[in-house]
């Protein structure tokens, strides 16, 4: 959305981009909606070059030495926070952390005031997680520091989608023509939205699966198809991304019970046997074992759930690196 063009990109650390002339000029990464397919591919390619860092005995490179990454988590998160924190530390950046609870936001300070205060302390990148859709987007033209969206309400979770797409590309070699099913609470899922946007931009087909109460009919405007039957699509997809179901959803009558949800939309050995042999089973975590996925599927040979987590680190290193370099 709001992008500020930088005059030149730093070459402090070369990335093995397939398009070495590509110039990253984006100050912020608030959503995949704003990115071109070339930019998405550039992030993925940059992440490839960072993958190897995690295999070293000393897992650190000096790319962001002397820089400060502020993790502003207005909404709770453990794994996304850890992943960003580790990514920053592998780039030698310092991190500061602010949680929504116990901070001044609980005393009534607005998000804008909090962010401006932290900016005034002199930080170089904001990583923002917020319960409200659009919160990081509303900040980008009000602060000078690059903003990375770590999840805004049910809107977008761009780094999660990037790591999902990275994992599919790693496994299948391409996104072009790949058919991906995203199963679960599409209506309230930022992971679903960012995945649909990113996958479509890279030429994949997407079918979203769930009951009509969790799958808004107008989501087809984002370029995906809808199925209300998981069984119907099992044999036709290359990837099945199972979303975490929020337990509180059934109290608002979005589905009758976890038992029923699991019987209609849960992935189990029986359903897996009806899939293509090499189907990829993904999940953004944390898994409700026995609800979205049975343990035999989650831990089975088709599952790439832990690779997603590993890849998340490289992707987030790439994102932090790119946005902090783009300012010069």
């Amino acid at each position: 959305m709001m992008t500020k063009k930088a005059s030149s990109s730093s070459n402090a650390r070369p990335s093995k981009s397939k398009n070495p002339k590509f110039l990253w000029t984006r100050k912020d990464l608030v959503g995949l909606d704003e990115l071109s397919s070339e930019e998405i591919v550039h992030v993925l390619d940059t992440a490839v070059s960072f993958q190897e860092v995690s295999t070293r005995s000393i897992k650190k490179i000096p790319a962001l030495r002397g820089k400060v990454v502020a993790l502003l988590f207005f909404e709770d998160s453990t794994r996304t926070r850890m992943s960003f924190e580790l990514a920053a530390s592998r780039l030698s950046a310092d991190t500061v952390f602010l949680s929504g609870k116990g901070s001044s936001t609980s005393k009534g300070e607005t998000t804008l005031d909090t962010v401006r205060n932290v900016e005034a302390m002199g930080v170089d990148v904001f990583v923002i997680r917020h319960s409200q859709s659009g919160a990081p987007h509303q900040l980008v033209d009000k602060v000078n520091v690059p903003i990375v969206n770590a999840g805004d309400g049910p809107h977008e979770h761009p780094t999660q989608a990037l790591l999902d797409i990275f994992t599919i590309r790693q496994k299948l070699g391409t996104l072009e023509g790949v058919r991906v099913a995203i199963v679960g609470d599409i209506a309230h899922s930022r992971v679903a939205r960012s995945n649909i946007i990113g996958l479509r931009k890279l030429g994949a087909e997407v079918v979203v699966v769930g009951p009509p109460t969790l799958v808004p009919a107008t989501i087809t405007a984002m370029g995906c198809e809808i199925s209300h039957s998981l069984d119907d699509i099992l044999g036709e997809v290359d990837v099945i991304n199972m979303l975490r179901i929020q337990f509180e959803r059934f109290s608002s009558n979005l589905f009758p019970s976890l038992r029923e949800y699991s019987s209609l939309f849960g992935m189990n050995a029986d359903r897996l046997s009806k899939c293509r042999k090499d189907v990829l089973i993904m999940h953004p975590g944390p898994i409700n074992r026995g609800v979205e996925l049975t343990s035999e599927v989650a831990d089975g040979p088709n599952s790439c759930i832990l690779q997603q987590v590993t890849n998340g680190l490289a992707v987030r290193m790439a994102v932090l690196y790119l946005v902090s370099q783009s300012r010069h």
Binding site: T110, Q132, G134, A135, Q138, G153, H155, R193
Partner: protein
Amino acid sequence: MIDILITNGRVIDPASGRDEIANVMVANGFVSKIGKTAPKARRTIDASGKIVCPGLIDLHVHCREPGHEEEETIATAASAAVAGGFTTICAMPNTHPPQDDETSILYVLQRMARAGKARVLPVGCITKGGEGKELAEMGMMHEAGAVAFTDDGTGVAGSTVMQRALQYAQMIDVVIMQHCQDPDLFGGVMNSGAVAVRLGLPGIAASGEEIMLRRDLELVKRTGARYHAMHISSAGSVEIIRQAKAQGLPVTAEATPHHLLLTDAACIGYDPNYKINPPLRSAGDVEALRQGVSDGTIDCLATDHAPHSKEEKEMEFALAPFGIVSLDCALGLYARALVHSGLMDWGEMLAKLTVNPAAIIDPTLGMLQEGAPADITIIDPDKRWTVNANKFASKARNCPYHGWKLKGRAIATIAGGEFKFQLQNASRIDK
């Protein structure tokens, strides 16, 4: 000697159908004569090329006083009104405390008198505290000066309460104005549809508006009470009202500038200045509303001027309050939606801002005739201007039209026979 002489204007009075070049004379707060003569006057205005019409009426304004004087006061709302060409505005009762008894109605009138700008006519709550449970003292409020009743901000949810409110209001022949929204179908922050889904924001479906409207019309059928549907927003609502009118029900309706000009696509970017209740809907709804205004299904134009502070509108989209201000610039917005789009001429549009709203709250207003109160607006229909929210007479700046280029503007506003507003450097209309 008379007080004011307005010469050579195009005098439009939708109430009588008059539309001719004439002189308008004002004495002692009333229109003394409309004709060709030009007697000596204390002030003479040359209105050549201008429209001279009854003072505009806005049935739907939130003045925020008492309770939120930092957002707006009765005085600043009244100043914004006359700057926009309005001589009468209706003050919505969702103040803090709410306008739900005689004293609070008298307070509005006292503040209006102190401000001395536009007429600010108080609207009372239908239910105590606007809570939708017990009827407020409508009879005493009416005697104190309340011109209508509404729980605007929310709709009256209970069917029994609504039925009794209609029965009771019919006794005193005062209109019930409804904010049509079934609370059970609420919970969103923008129009439900593809844009909301993409933005990850919860939607407000038009069905919530249409269901309450349909229920209310069933109750109107049974009670015969006068009923006014506020700020209707959907094509479905327009059709429901069209059918109700065809059946002869005593129903009227209003449309706002934003519902005639903006769609939910404006919410892309998460600017809370586009957050409004009822929400901005689809292009098809905008078209249906314009058609509804054009064919008479929608009787009135009303701003739903809803001031909010800057800090409130800097919050996240879902957390920010609903509301847009437009009193200062509404006339140019209406002209853009209805006149410059070719749907109607100025005379037809002005009916929706004068005689039609007057018929709902006070039939003695809204006309430009000999003997009528001298509430007069002089409009330059060709005046091109740019909306600058920072110069509004209103205290509030939550205006999505900032920077819009409009054509048509009130250049002078006379209320009760006195000049309350004159646009500076308009075109040296003073002789």
